[in-house]
Symmetry: C4
Subunit: 232 residues, 4 copies
């Protein structure tokens, strides 16, 4: 289902493949691409101002109307992005401009494939997201917070949601499969945490995803202050 | 007493009513409106820089000399307000420009009706305000802080004030009644907390209300650090 | 010794006296005054960016070469000072421009009188300074920190200094006497804390005092994190 | 091996020597010098915005292609550096422009001499770095953090690294020897902590060292939150 299908339909792109992939001649970047890039750049500045993407961690993407995806180039600091730090990939994760996308590109493309309404995916890498997996084992239950209403589809604090926590894995294809299996079995979620790493959230626009991100950082912070953190 | 009286004097405006209400032909926005809007925009930038209105939470208002009220439009991020994000309502909470005011408009209008000297109401939604209701049950007692003198009418740290905590409620008319009943019975207060949600404070100008807000965030922070927080 | 001597040499200025005092015809503000005012404005912006002067708390001063003093006007927010928010007083604390100086002016003037080399006095009002008096009773002992070297006259971390804590008092003349008595008996100090209120520090220039302030905020923060805070 | 060899090859420069040293006629500052200085100035603004170089603490350097070194002048605030606050020294730590380098210059030059690929050394002085030596005695073990991948040569969170902690010492030559002995015996490290003082880290460019610094601040913060801090 995933994979750079025009070249090798049988395989999902692996990290080493993505690093070398120049699938076909460069695709022209459109005004829409640069507009989305500007939104990701501004989101990065905000997220970095809070300390949630330290030391080139994190990655962001936004989908274009033709199904291609604007995504942060690997290894750039997300608080000081320039238009050249945003690259173009197709819906399978193939580079369309010769640059190397984030190692975690598959986690983005598999979300866009599953949820057609999603237009943006944001992955921060904050201290709260790193620590919360030490406090809770498999999932974080959030309830009775007014700020839950910042998540799409929630209109009262009298709501109980669960954010799953997945073990960290440098094999991104394997991690993407774990996420997809969870979604197949447990249904839709607002975000997921990767232990010791960060979380993924998404929305119908960059601003929508950013509101989710800001609300979840707030709620994780509340939970950590309420329950404390302890060594694993 | 509250309610969009020109249309239906018997009812306080409900959330669904407020959402659809276009009470009468659009009212012209005056220079005074835009001046107050600028004050609310600047207050929002400051409050957001502290992390006290995450993810479009919170709402702000300022009263005009004709009794109408400039108030934040529902769903906008309070750290990046533009003049178009501030709308005009009458003293009953009726939209005068066709935009949808905050769901919590009634909490603003009932304060202006009770206290004629009030010119601004601010509602932040901070982590401290969210957590403090886990630490104290019905009210927060603040005493022996020099910063109490930042609240109107207090001129010594040797003062003891009480900030009530109300249960959160999506039925804003019911919540407004709870607040009014408390004020009828207990007398005047400087602010009130809504559990898991945030707090309301007010003043004789936007700057006055902002000084109250900043002082209360400081004092809540002190109390949380002194007493710790525990799960409910 | 203190007091508005040209009018009533027998009395130190009281708060109510200072509020009404227009000792003599307005004194012209010099280029030196405006230069010092600019330094205090910049210091205020920095101190506020750290959250150390919330809600119009705190006050700052700098001495001019003629012995007069530039000091913040009472009730202004120290993070957004304009030149008009800095006023001129004489060495006794008398207003030279008809504006009302801070209630705590005497704490500034008595330091300038005792220590001729002092050119600036800064009084922040931070959470750390407010809480540290709950942790330690009479004084805070700081030792074995490299950052002690930021204080004038200290050149090794192997130094042990003591910062006294005084009870808060709205009677500033009485509080100033307590400070002076301590200095008479205990000798020179780098700063003093007023419980539940903040601290005073000073230096041979505004930058010197600001370095002391920043270092002490850091050291108080370290001490609070190491020892915790508990309710009084 | 260290020392201002053209003058006195037998001695490593002592602090008092460095303060007076004008080894030979002033060396012209090149475009490369000013370019590196700009990088250090920008790094300082970022590091200070996080509160990691309070009150003129910390120092930074970058090596030029001729082996000379651009380094911060002693006693300047690292958040507000100007080009004049960056000076030129040779590879032995000798001043080439008559200004006084940081007392800790030897810790920089000995790193450049040991590791030819290093182009920048950064020394922040944060609360986390100050406190972490109270929590761990001889070294800090970091493992199972995705952000370890921000350190050169690490490509999985399943890595265990050790950051040594050295006792603080005002005798910088002696401290430099302690560091060199450790490196001789224990092999290469990514950073070292000086107890009650701060840490040193380095990289193949200013940006590389800054990424290390930001990642280590994050990881120290995580460790302190997980394990708590206690008085020594």
């Amino acid at each position: 289902m995933n994979g750079c299908s025009r070249q090798n339909p049988a395989y999902r792109p692996t990290l080493s493949f993505l690093q070398s992939a120049k699938c076909f001649p460069m695709t022209l970047k459109t005004d829409e691409f640069y507009s989305k890039a500007d939104e990701l750049i501004a989101a990065g500045r905000f997220i970095d101002s809070k300390g949630w993407v330290p030391a080139t961690s994190g990655n962001f993407s936004a989908q274009l109307s033709d199904g291609n995806i604007a995504i942060t180039v690997s290894g750039r600091h997300k608080g000081h992005l320039e238009p050249d730090d945003i690259m173009l990939i197709d819906s399978q994760g193939c580079s369309l401009d010769g640059q190397k996308p984030s190692a975690e590109t598959l986690l983005h493309t598999s979300l866009y494939q599953r949820y057609p309404q999603i237009q943006a995916v944001l992955h921060p890498h904050s201290i709260n997201a790193t620590l919360i997996a030490r406090l809770f084992k498999d999932n974080i239950v959030l309830e009775n917070y007014e700020l839950l209403k910042a998540l799409n589809g929630i209109n009262t604090h009298e709501t109980r949601i669960s954010i799953p926590i997945f073990a960290n894995d440098q094999n991104i294809a394997r991690l993407a499969t774990v996420v997809e299996d969870y979604l197949d079995q447990q249904g839709d979620i607002h975000a997921y945490v990767i232990a010791g790493h960060g979380f993924y959230t998404w929305g119908n626009s960059v601003n929508d995803a950013l509101r989710h991100l800001e609300a979840l950082e707030f709620l994780f912070d509340c939970e950590i202050r309420l329950h404390g953190v302890k060594p694993a």
